[in-house]
Amino acid sequence: MTKNDSLDLASKERAAMLRLLDRSPPEGYLDDWQQRLRDKEDDHDRETQGVLVFRLFDEWLAIEAKIVKEITADASVHRIPQRTNEVLRGLVNVRGELQICVSLRSLLSLRDTGEKHILSRRVHPRMIVFQGEDGAFVFRADEVYGVHPLEMDTLQDSPVTVSKAMATYTRGLFTLREIKVGLLDHELILHSLRSKYL
């Protein structure tokens, strides 16, 4: 091959390359990408919060996952003489440490109505340990669904139909697999436990 030949070939390739790059984009291509990038941006703006979803009787509830220390198997609760009441249930062994066990059912004045939506394949009661300012509390849940990334702006106000206790302690409702879930106000719950039941 001579030098000229190779030059010739190079210029041909270059022309082909330019043609390829200069061709107009297919129909709808630009719009599509613009839309995609715009959507991405929106996703960033949306504030999501990990919440732990669980069930008490027939009520599905959630608390912010950041205050949950751990979830363990169901354990027996030892009453504390003169202290145990409706809400403060007693002491429970969590990994070798004695923690204070409370009943969220009583705090939220929940009743067993018998009709429940079950989300898990096998239902196990669990102990949920959550951290307060000066120590942890444990409560028993009838079923734990898991952590759900909640988009905070999808949170709706609690309807007027819920009980007063529920209305006081929930920050709002969201929908998960067609079930209404109440997001609990853990600060108010901790405050209430500390000031009223300890």
């Binding site: 030892h78 504390i80 003489p81 202290r83 062994n93 004695l98 000066d134 405050h191």
Partner: protein
């Protein structure tokens, strides 16, 4: 860095004290090199953390050791006093927290100078004359600062008549506010301080002012007012604060703290008694407010509440070394050294010499280790299952083997035979596999059980420390005491490595201190007296520790004059503890027991060394608390031995487990007299009280359920009663439980602090299978039983009636960050018949108001976390609370503050002066009645 320095001082300081004590008793064998090295390291360490003054002392000490090492000087006890003083400076410097350091440095500069001079004089003396002489007292004039010029303006404290009804609350508040104030100052850099740094100061001063006004401490009101104004001026940028202003604020804060801590009866006249301090502080504050610099002002008077500031004309007191008249021949060092040593002993940090682990983390480790043991226990179950599996597999195999014979009789084609052969082989393989697994598992379980057991024991024993860690201060203490008394004592510690629970070790310190001082003071004779009776003039005092039969035995043995039991008998009769006839009957041991009674002291006179109001009863108290025993052996003329027997650890107790109302409780074995299982027929009843007879004594019975406050009767169908007989001060009580379950070793866990004291319960534990157990507080339980037996149980119903009544009253929430204001408002409102709850700031109030179903809210404006404006707007914007009446009560009385408060949604805006008349109550009634 300071943390490291503290650790270094702790180690080297102990080495120095120990070395010097050894030197004094035997100069020839002293390890001067080690002392020199210790002083040298401390010098370096002090310089690294920037404590130049301390570095200088260490340097002087090091120089002296170098000279002594070369044999240039010999040191007697008088000279050593200076050395001990120097060590005290070093040790104390290591006990200051970062916040306290600067105050300590300025407070002790003079003392350090004196010590450096003292050390220097030893060295000069040594070079001038080979024979050392007593250290001359330092010239007081040299160090005392010239009398400061009087402040330019004199402020006289205002007259006041404090109202003491709420003084305790005020003290609490003053402590908190002044703490915040000092903390705020500490972190303040005047050059860059902005609004955020200054505002907490303003708030603290403001709250303090309000609180002081309620009590009527006008001097404090005046001072906080100027502070608040000055800080406000600084926030507004009207004045610039410099370091000297900040220092002045600190001193003012200290003045206020000292003032509020003064005893009730002294409060009224306190400002007058400290008029000079008050005047100069006020002068400085006013000048701060005026924007003047304080740098050229007179030096601050000592801020500490010392009754005699240096510039007064009070004659010099012996307690301050520098003001001793120069003609005093004896060095002032001993008395000073003693005070310091005492202070050091009480402040001695209880930290670990090796690593610092937080108690929380240790508890968690203990929990995890215990849980590991429980979990490993479950391996046993798994092994049983494996065993059953192996058994089943063996059965299967033998069935297959026996079917082989049946198959042999049948005519089978080759293919079927091969098929059955495969089945047989597969079954054989499965059996082998199961056997192997079982063996593996056995080994695994054994290793794990061993490991978790070891882990658990190791964690438990990590609470142990060598005995020496708790008694390091004693050689120096004994040396100082003996020297002050003019006695000669050789003190030895035996069994330094004996492991002792750190809790027990800490608690032993005070009683041992007491016993050792007693031994020096009363036990030891003067050297001449000892010689006269043919003893070595140097007395021997031995402190020893050893383990014996699962207990820790600590002994203090002296070879002094012993205790004369006949004299003691006379004393007992004199003090009317027993009659003469009874005394005659008592054995020597019984007579000696009287020494442990409160108010019984053999000291003829109260001296400073011992007999300071606390007797040997501190020893006895401790023994009761930790289930130990104390005994005295003595022989007249030959000495006395104190014999303390205490449990090695308090973290594991032996206990009796019992079922009470379906749950497990534990009785500490040390509190149980015996257990009884009796039939109902043996039960007797008198006036509705049940009792039974035991060894001729009637023992009252109370059901544990009732004593713990559980309703219902024992629901047992057994024909007998299980009773635990406990004793308390020789009185027996029967506690009826549902079932006795047996003994166990329990690892004691503290109850969650948030629960406070639970009646009848002392602590908690876990059973072998991980179930919670509560450990009973027997004394407390007996108290409730007593109440039950005397019919006090009806109290419960009375209380619920009272609660019923509360429900009808109007409910008011009081929100204020000042405890004094809060409680004043509460009292006013409760007196007017309202039910009151309180919250400590806006955020707390916001939580409370949503839960409480209140009829009215009373709120302050200036509060941390959420201020009153924000709080009120939040209420107004809430759909459920929007109509709740709110009264704002503030110190701010300007019209614009008023408008701001009302705009936020308050129904009334009152100032705190409204407490004086009935404006406040009237406003409340207007809104809700």
């Amino acid at each position: 860095m300071l943390d490291l320095y503290q650790q270094e001082v702790e180690t080297q300081g102990a080495a120095l004290n120990e070395g010097l004590v050894a030197w004094e008793s035997d100069p020839d064998s002293a390890d001067v090199d080690a002392l020199m090295r210790a002083a040298h390291s401390l010098k370096g360490a002090a310089r690294i953390v920037g404590l130049d003054m301390v570095g200088k002392v260490a340097h002087a000490l090091e120089d002296l050791f170098v000279a002594a090492g070369k044999g240039e000087l010999a040191l007697g006890s008088d000279q050593l006093d200076w050395l001990f003083n120097a060590v005290d400076v070093l040790v104390e410097s290591g006990q200051q927290t970062e916040e306290k350091m600067s105050a300590w440095l300025s407070g002790n500069a003079e003392w350090s100078e004196e010590v450096i001079k003292g050390l220097g004089s030893i060295q000069t003396k040594a070079t001038e004359a080979p024979k050392p002489e007593p250290v001359p007292a330092p010239n007081p004039e040299a160090n005392t600062p010239a009398t400061p010029p009087a402040p330019s303006t004199t402020y006289t404290p205002p007259e006041q008549t404090p109202d003491l009804s709420m003084i305790d609350l005020f003290r609490e508040e003053a402590k908190q506010q002044m703490g915040d104030f000092q903390a705020g100052l500490e972190s303040l850099d005047p050059a860059s301080a902005g609004k955020e740094q200054l505002e907490p100061l303003m708030r603290a001063a403001h709250s303090m002012k309000g609180a002081a006004r309620i009590i009527g401490l006008m001097a404090a009101v005046e001072m906080t007012k100027v502070i608040e104004e000055a800080v406000n001026a600084a926030i507004a940028g009207k004045i610039k604060l410099a370091d000297d202003h900040i220092d002045h604020f600190k001193h003012s804060g200290e003045f206020l703290s000292a003032f509020s801590a003064a005893p009730d009866e002294a409060l009224a006249s306190w400002p007058q008694e400290h008029a000079d301090d008050y005047s100069s502080l006020m002068d400085g504050l006013h000048r701060t407010l005026a924007g003047e610099s304080l740098a050229t002002a007179a030096p601050e008077p000592e801020p500490a509440p010392e009754p005699a500031p240096p510039e007064t004309s009070t004659p010099p007191k012996a307690e301050s070394g520098s003001s001793l008249p120069p003609e005093a021949e004896k060095a002032p060092a001993p008395s000073k050294a003693k005070d310091r040593a005492k202070a050091a002993a009480s402040e001695k940090s209880k930290s670990d010499g090796v690593v610092r682990v937080s108690a929380d983390s240790l508890n968690r480790l203990m929990g995890l280790a215990a849980e590991t043991v429980v979990e490993t226990g479950q391996l046993e179950n798994f092994r049983d299952t494996l065993l059953r599996l192996k058994q089943a597999q063996s059965d299967l195999n033998s069935r297959i083997d026996s079917s082989q014979r049946i198959l042999d009789q049948l005519e089978l084609d080759a293919e079927s035979r091969v098929h059955f052969e495969h089945i047989r082989q597969a079954a054989q393989q499965a059996l082998t596999l199961v056997r192997e697994q079982l063996e593996h598992f056995d080994n695994f379980a054994r290793r794990n059980t061993l490991l978790s057991d070891r882990l658990y024991r190791e964690v438990l024993s990590s609470r142990m420390r060598p005995f020496n860690d708790g008694v390091q201060g004693f050689p120096r203490m004994v040396r100082d005491v003996a020297r002050t008394l003019g006695k000669q004592v050789k003190f030895t510690i035996e069994g330094k490595d004996t492991p002792v629970d750190r809790d027990i070790l800490e608690r032993l310190e005070a009683p041992l201190n007491h016993i050792l001082r007693n031994a020096c003071d009363h036990g030891m004779e003067m050297p001449d007296d000892r010689q006269a009776v043919g003893k070595d003039p140097v007395g021997s005092l031995v402190l020893s520790a050893r383990h014996s039969a699962g207990m820790l035995v600590v002994e203090v043995k002296d070879d002094g004059r012993g205790i004369d039991c006949d004299k003691l008998r006379t004393k007992i009769v004199e003090k009317q503890f027993a009659t003469a006839e009874m005394c005659e009957q008592m054995t020597e041991e019984e007579v000696l027991e009287f020494l442990f009674l409160p108010g019984f002291s053999t000291a003829g006179k109260v001296t400073e060394i011992s007999g300071r109001g606390v007797g040997l009863d501190v020893v006895q108290n401790l023994m009761q608390q930790i289930a130990g025993q104390a005994r005295i052996n003595t022989e007249v003329g030959h000495g006395t031995t104190f014999h303390l027997q205490v449990p090695i650890t308090r973290s594991v107790i032996r206990a009796l487990l019992a079922d009470i109302d379906g749950e497990t409780y534990a009785f500490p074995l040390s509190r149980i007299a015996r257990t009884v299982r009796m039939s109902y027929d043996d039960l007797k009843t008198v006036e509705n009280r049940q009792y039974f007879e035991m060894e001729g004594q009637n023992v009252g019975i109370a059901p544990a359920r009732a004593a713990l406050g559980f309703g219902g009767n024992t629901s047992s169908i057994t024909p007998h009663l299980d009773i635990v007989v406990v004793n308390d001060r020789n009185q027996l009580y029967g506690v009826e439980v549902d079932t006795l379950m047996g003994e166990a070793d329990l690892v004691v866990r503290p109850l969650d602090k948030r629960l406070g004291k639970v009646p009848g319960i002392s602590s908690a534990s876990l059973s072998e299978d991980g179930e919670p157990i509560l450990i009973l507080d027997v004394e407390d339980l007996i108290a409730s039983i007593d109440k039950l037996l005397s019919g006090g149980a009806r109290l419960e119903t009375l209380r619920s009636d009272a609660q019923e009544e509360v429900r009808d009253r109007k409910r008011i929430l009081v929100v204020d960050d000042s405890i004094t204001v809060r409680e004043t408002e509460r009292q006013l409102l409760e007196n007017a018949g309202f039910y009151v709850e309180v919250a400590v700031d806006g955020a707390d109030g916001w939580n409370a108001v949503r839960l409480g179903e209140f009829d009215l809210v009373v709120s302050d404006i200036d509060m941390p976390r959420m201020n009153g404006y924000e709080f009120v707007s939040k209420i107004r914007n809430d759909s459920r609370l929007g109509k709740l009446p709110v009264i704002v009560v503030s110190y701010k009385d300007r019209e614009e503050d008023r408008i701001k408060g009302l705009e936020a949604g308050a129904d009334y805006y009152l100032t705190k002066s409204s407490f004086q008349d009935d404006t406040f109550i009237q406003a409340v009634k207007d809104l809700i009645e």
